[in-house]
Amino acid sequence: MLKFSAALPANIAAESIRMRRRKLQAHAMQVLPPLLGVLLFLLAWQMLAGFRSDLPGPGATWDAALTLFADPFYENGPNDMGIGWNVLHSLARVGLGFGMAAVVGIPLGFIVGRSAFISGMLSPIMGLLRPVSPLAWLPIGLLVFQKAEPASIWVIFISSIWPMILNTAAGVRQVPQDYLNVARVLNLSEWKVLTTILFPAVLPYLLTGVRLAIGVAWLVIVAAEMLTGGTGLGFWVWDEWNNLNVAHILIAIFVVGLIGLLLEQTLVLLARRFEY
């Protein structure tokens, strides 16, 4: 008995060390794989740059990025602006086109979800138009608006509206009958049903639509700006290609990826806030 109780503290200490080690291991397993992946990627890039002298390696790109980001908001005429301005211009276009798509698409999604008749009316049109590459809409935009700026916003609008309509409508269709029975038993007004039952029930689906839409919009803006020119990240990529400044193109790719990731993550966080 005595021996046992004497051994006990040592046991506890050993146990706690073992637990701490296990926790540390779990932590390492979380951090290690991404870190290794990035390292391997950089290594492959460096090797590739070694074979091709016209492709800048990670080091050279990093140096170029440092000079570029040292002065992100300079303005030397309309076709030579700092990276900050280009990013802001692209974001503004996405925000506008995407915002208008939300204003039109979300209420339309509610209507399509609520009314089988309207859903039936719109489904052949949506089925036909949804698979069309967003850039195919650019000439139509240019024709109608006669200007590059609204045309690129139009492209964002048309490409991000589909996921918002479809996901909102799917959400409305999946509101549990139980909740609607509650509304009927309590005899709630249409407005009350919309605000206290339909909207909260649909919100997670709606946010999924918004997340998909912003992903598409951000994909499309770079391509649209390459064609329309003027300002924006897409224009800048094309401009630097004409200048044969490959380091800047690589930087642009990272910036586009990073901002896309941030937009997506923000919406994922927002969506998590509304999970019940």
Partner: protein, 266 residues
């Protein structure tokens, strides 16, 4: 039975559903009169149409034939005079328990009462089911039994003429169920509510009811028998266990369910 006491009248009610496979008759020739303050349970094998009958009284579905009258008026749709406690509680998950109950209170009383009065009603309803402490919790933060109590509070807060309960305790474990049955007995004794409850639990039916309405097996279920439970109130679960009358009633329900209306081999 005096005329004024007839509170819910179901006359010659039949219910036929049109399905993809043709029409399906769930209920036929249902006649039942419920008095004010009476506690009725509907019992029968699953699929016999007892929930359909409850939905008809609730007005969630309208009968194919016959009439239903509640407090002198034909039932043409759902309304706050008939509070419903759903089988799966049906609380809105994005609202707190308080807000779930308040939604009902606001709908019924906001035209005639002040905000403070509405709040007092909501608090009182939650206190009635002993859940004042959980008022600010969301449904997913409380247990199944507590959710069902909020559902009861929501229905009672509307001061309905009839409380309709669709297997309210079916999804709960036996201990919680017994606890809530006792609580319901106390609440009904206090509020003098008229209650119609669907159940498949024989003990629950005998413990709670004034009359047990036994439905035959569907399709086209009819009222097979009505058993009057004349056990004195207040009823005590433990005392009843010793009471021969209780056992007699219990075995007549069992007899109906397992001999007369033997469940067809599933």
């Amino acid at each position: 039975m005096s005329l004024s006491k007839k509170f819910v009248e179901i006359s010659d009610v039949g219910m036929t559903f049109e399905t993809a496979k043709g029409s399906f008759t769930a209920l036929k020739n249902i006649n039942l009169t419920i008095e004010q303050g009476e506690f009725i349970t509907l019992i029968g094998h699953s699929g016999c149409g007892k929930s359909t009958l409850l939905n008809l009284i609730a007005g969630l579905t309208l009968p194919s034939t016959g009439h239903l009258i509640c407090a002198g008026r034909e039932i043409a749709g759902p309304g706050p005079d008939r509070g419903v406690v759903f089988q799966n509680h049906s609380l809105l998950p994005w609202l707190t328990c308080y807000a779930n109950v308040y939604l009902a209170v606001e709908r019924v009383f906001s035209a005639s009462e002040s905000k403070a009065q509405l709040k007092a009603r909501t608090d009182a309803a939650l206190a009635l089911v002993s859940l004042s402490h959980a008022a600010q919790k969301r449904p997913n933060e409380i247990s199944g039994g507590m959710k069902q109590r909020v559902g009861i509070a929501r229905a009672l807060a509307m001061e309905p003429r009839v409380l309709l309960m669709d297997e309210p305790f079916g999804a709960l474990d036996a201990l919680t169920r017994a606890h809530l049955q006792d609580e319901l007995l106390a609440i009904v004794a206090k509020t003098q509510s008229t209650v119609v409850m669907v159940t498949h639990d024989v003990d629950e039916a005998v413990l709670l009811s004034d009359r047990i309405v036994m439905l035959s097996n569907g399709p086209a279920a009819v009222i097979g028998d009505i058993l009057t439970v004349d056990l004195p109130r207040p009823r005590e679960r433990l005392a009843l266990a010793e009471n021969p009358a209780y056992h007699q009633l219990r075995s007549s329900v069992l007899e109906f369910l397992y001999q007369k209306e033997k469940r067809p081999a599933a």
